[in-house]
């Protein structure tokens, strides 16, 4: 059933991913991000006359790796083509790309959404070179060619995505796969992952496709979701009013939260593709493909399913852990394995709650915090045994990170063990009742909230070590006897 009453959306995504090879696709220049403009250039990537491209073999291997992970068929015989168009960020005024014999095609990507799996077809994955970057000033423009020639992977999906949420899920899964393969940073803000979308709508159940628009300039996954949502609604609205949808390129305005037409008149694009004569066609041997296949680790989709099955994780928790990073997923699994209990929920909550938030503050993943798995488990076990409160556990976590001491030692040294002994607590409760007659009155006259104040006072007296649950029960007991 479509989420849009009477209509359905058809979306195809075109994703570009910068491969993190040390050098560019066709020359030896560094690919490092954020360096001084035009400091990482040479005659080849500047498109100087007479300079010739030489393929970076590692870029090709990375490309094959991604294609294999996306279940694509690798074409043994492949070649590069020139895509001709004039633009100042394109030093040769053609881009070395792949046209009719891409290195791979016909793959798929499985996404997992609200308990259901969905398979999205991958039409093709091919290798090309990135363009430079234009910086527009008031009455002139500057070009930075550091980016020109960085290997770029183009991943084109079939138009089998039917909602912004699916698109979001597709991108998250894709990004995660590529990160698991360790071939790209996939950082949308740095431009190492870019996404364009083709969108059309049609009456629910209709056969053919509606007129599509292409939406560009979406700079985050959130933008993609918002832009797709906007564009689908816009198209449906037009259809409802019996108006025509114009085939055009539209840009997403992240401030106004709307798409707008990029061109006033529609230019028909003719890239005049032809085989790149400077690079002979090449053959990727079956052996090579197999040896690359061997290096592919367990991928996110499989991991999510396994975590749900083996450790009883919820879909949400499994995704958070798995999509975080490969290292984080491995780390989380190590923690889960070490926890005796079959109920992993408290541990997982601790991992994706306080630990992830500490990791975020430090710009790393949970695996990067440097805490041995057994100590995380021991910390969580302390909470489960009610030795310490959840609140205390959070501050112990901080200390563990800062001092690299074991949680057990910190709890012991700082004497953080909760007071759960009712005799000791009863003594404190009695003191508090005596000192706060007004609150006692309030509670007795029906203001049940007043008990929280009293609990707070006991916590204070105990330097935060009293077990609040037990304290509350004791107060209730004392006051009902009064």
């Amino acid at each position: 059933m479509s989420i849009y009453s009477g209509y359905e959306a058809v979306i195809g995504l075109e994703v570009h991913i910068q491969l993190k090879t040390k050098t560019k696709a066709f020359c030896g220049c560094s690919t490092e991000f954020g360096r001084e403009p035009n400091s990482q250039v040479c005659p080849v990537c500047l498109g100087f006359p007479g300079a010739l491209p030489v393929l970076n073999r590692l870029a090709l291997e990375y490309a094959v790796k991604v294609a294999l992970a996306l279940n694509c068929k690798i074409q043994e015989f492949t070649k590069f083509d020139r895509k001709n168009y004039f633009y100042p960020d394109l030093p040769k005024n053609y881009q070395i790309s792949q046209f009719d014999l891409p290195l791979s095609k016909d793959g798929f990507l499985d996404i997992y959404l609200q308990g259901k799996a969905k398979r999205i077809g991958i039409r093709r994955v091919h290798l090309e070179e990135d363009a430079g970057k234009l910086i527009h000033k008031e009455d002139f423009s500057l070009v930075d060619f550091n980016r020109a020639g960085i290997p770029l992977l183009e991943i084109v999906s079939e138009p089998q995505i039917n909602s912004p949420q699916e698109a979001y899920e597709y991108l998250s899964t894709l990004k995660s796969i590529v990160q698991y393969l360790d071939v790209s940073d996939c950082d949308m803000e740095k431009g190492s992952l870019r996404c364009d979308a083709n969108i059309s709508v049609r009456e629910a159940g209709a056969e053919g496709l509606g007129t599509k628009t292409e939406v560009k300039n979406m700079n985050s996954f959130k933008s993609v979701k918002e832009a797709l949502g906007f564009e689908i609604e816009r198209q449906i609205e037009l259809l409802k009013q019996d108006k025509k949808i114009i085939q055009e390129t539209r840009l997403w305005d992240a401030e106004k939260l709307e798409t707008f037409s990029m061109r006033t008149k529609e230019e028909s694009k003719d890239y005049r593709y032809f085989p790149e004569p400077d690079l002979p066609p090449f053959i990727i041997s079956k052996d090579k493909i197999e040896s690359i296949r061997m290096t592919i680790p367990e991928l996110p989709y499989q991991k999510i399913q396994r975590f749900m099955n083996e450790y009883g994780l919820s879909e949400y928790d499994a995704k958070v852990i798995v999509f975080s990073s490969k290292d984080d997923a491995i780390y989380a699994e190590e923690c889960m394995k070490r926890l005796d209990s079959s109920d992993k929920k408290p541990l997982v909550n601790f991992l994706i709650g306080p630990m992830m938030s500490e990791a975020n503050n430090r710009n790393c993943g949970i695996s990067g915090l440097g805490i041995p798995a057994e100590e995380v488990v021991s910390l969580v076990q302390h909470v489960q045994r009610q030795d310490i409160s959840y609140l205390t556990a959070k501050s112990v976590l901080k200390e563990v990170i800062d001092t690299s001491q074991s949680p057990t030692k910190i709890i012991k040294d700082k004497n953080l063990i909760q007071i759960s002994d009712s005799n000791a607590l009863t003594k404190l409760v009695d003191e508090v009742i005596k000192e706060n007659p007004k609150s006692v009155q309030d509670y007795l006259s029906g203001k049940s909230n007043a008990i929280m104040f009293l609990v707070g006072q006991v916590m204070k007296k105990s330097n935060g070590k009293a077990n609040p649950k037990i304290v509350q029960e004791i107060i209730k007991g004392r006051l009902s006897n009064a």
Binding site: P43, V54, K92, F140, P280
Partner: protein, 492 residues
């Protein structure tokens, strides 16, 4: 005889014996250039001063070229020195790097002349009339063209204004001017010589090659410039023999194919006679000549002008006024809009390119366009394969093929400049070697009744330049043609 009248191998011998110094050669060459350049105009950007050379290695001891001067076509990049393809659009362009052949020449102890040799703009032409610097004049008859596009190099060698020269050959641009000027010119097998630093015309056809006074010099220069280059993915990693070892004056038992299709209408009867005499001479020397057929020859020119222009249209797209070379000075609105960008592109290219360059860019853009690609470019690629197969078939039976280099001798300046089709046909015999990727050499083999040189073309299997050298050397050593020089050389 003065030093500039000698061949490179003769000079190297004198240098080895310390009878002369490299400076003396340069001095002699400088004198000759000063004497003749106003009439020949083989070089461009020559400014009256003493000829300067590019920085050379200091230790010439043990190098193969020992300080011999080499003249280079204006489309081969030299680090820090003007390389303009004789086009206004590249005016002022100083490449930040050396072409691989230049690197190799420097390492071999060559002295590369700073002024480069004249050419048709971007190598588009067969007469060197399409140069933004004006034409070069044929030393054998100053009213005639030198051929092209490497006309400056050929004329310089013919007029003893150069000892050794480099040209580039996409459809005959080394061989046809060599033929028109009575010198030796070789187009190597595609992939034999690195194209890195050669400003591309048609990448799948271009090769750099030598233009020299005799076959031995040609072999010497090939020894220096050949070889696999990791910077050129189309260069081939195959062993380079010592080509001078192939200079054996013996063709006994060598099987030579004479293709019927090259001796048909359009071939000047005088040229035909001279070529037939040359064939008879080779027979006398013991070669076995037989008629062969290259049935797809008639399509070569059509196929060439589709493939070459298609690649050229893309290769020349980078000349847009953004990074280097010429940018239109006409007023372009200052607003950052796409319209002002397109304006800059249009005006720069309209003013920067000559008419033949524009013709080829338009043609190439057309054949690659949507809806025409299959009918033209793709079809041309298929016919190219057929042409290559023709040669493969003949080379199963023959060691080499002999044809005229060009259907006529040098034509008059201005005669064909307004008739592109007629101009294109002067490459009719040379184009096939580029399409098939095979090596071919043109050597002098006589004169027509006007005293204009005729060139004999020899073609061989891929990477069998040795066969070319052997046959060419045997023929040359038994004929006087290579020793004949235009009168202008000795006129005071």
């Amino acid at each position: 005889m003065e030093l500039h009248n000698l061949t490179a191998s003769e000079l190297i011998e004198k240098l080895s014996l310390k009878q002369i110094t490299p400076d003396e050669i340069l001095f002699s060459l400088d004198k000759q250039i000063k004497r003749l350049e106003s009439k020949i105009k083989a070089y461009v950007r020559l400014d009256g001063n003493k000829i300067s050379t590019l920085p050379t290695i200091s230790h010439l001891e043990g190098t193969s070229l020992k300080g011999i001067p080499v003249s280079v076509k204006d489309n081969i990049c030299t680090d820090g020195y003007l390389t303009e393809c004789c086009s206004k659009i590249l005016s002022g362009f100083k490449p930040p790097y050396d072409a691989t052949v230049i690197k190799k020449l420097k390492e071999a102890g060559a002295r590369i002349l700073e002024p480069k040799t004249n050419m048709d703009e971007f190598a588009f032409g067969s007469s060197t009339e399409n140069s933004c610097f004006g034409p070069t004049y044929n030393p054998w008859d100053l009213g005639r063209v030198v051929g092209g596009s490497s006309g400056g190099s050929a004329a310089a060698v013919a007029a003893d204004e150069a000892i050794l020269a480099l040209g580039s050959d996409t459809g005959g641009s080394i061989r046809q001017p060599a033929s028109f000027c009575g010198v030796v010119g070789l187009k190597p097998t595609y992939g034999r010589v690195s194209r890195y630093g050669l400003i591309a015309f048609a990448s799948s056809l271009d090769q750099i090659g030598p233009i020299t006074k005799d076959v031995k010099d040609c072999a010497l220069l090939m020894n220096t410039i050949s070889g696999y280059d990791p910077c050129d993915s189309t260069s081939v990693d195959i062993e380079v023999p010592d080509f001078t070892k192939a200079l054996i004056p013996d063709v006994k038992g060598i099987k030579i194919g004479i293709p019927n299709e090259y001796f048909v209408e359009g071939l000047d009867p005088q040229v035909k006679n001279v070529i037939e005499e040359a064939i008879n001479k080779l027979k006398d020397l013991g070669a076995m000549c037989e008629q062969v057929s290259l049935p797809h020859t008639e399509y070569a020119v059509a196929v060439y002008y589709i493939i070459a222009t298609a690649e050229a249209s893309s290769n020349l797209a980078r000349f847009d006024g953004v990074q280097y070379g010429y940018r239109s000075k006409s007023k372009i609105s200052k607003k950052i809009e796409s319209s002002s960008l397109i304006e800059m592109y249009k005006q720069t290219r309209a003013e920067g390119f000559g008419s033949e360059a524009k013709r080829r860019i338009i043609l190439g853009t057309f054949v690659l366009s949507h809806g025409y690609y299959e009918a033209y470019y793709l079809r041309a690629l298929k016919v190219r394969t057929l042409i290559k197969n023709d040669f493969d078939n003949v080379f199963r039976e023959c060691d080499c093929i002999i044809t005229p280099t060009s259907p006529t001798t040098a034509f008059k300046i201005g005669e064909r400049i307004d008739d592109p089709l007629k101009m294109y046909l002067s490459d009719i015999y040379t184009i096939s070697a580029n399409l098939a990727g095979i090596p071919a050499i043109s050597i002098p083999c006589g004169f027509d009744k006007y005293g204009l040189p005729v060139g004999l073309q020899i073609l061989a299997k891929p990477f069998d330049e040795e066969m070319l050298f052997r046959v060419a050397y045997a023929y040359e050593q038994s004929t006087p043609w290579h020793k004949m020089k235009p009168k202008i050389i000795f006129e005071q």
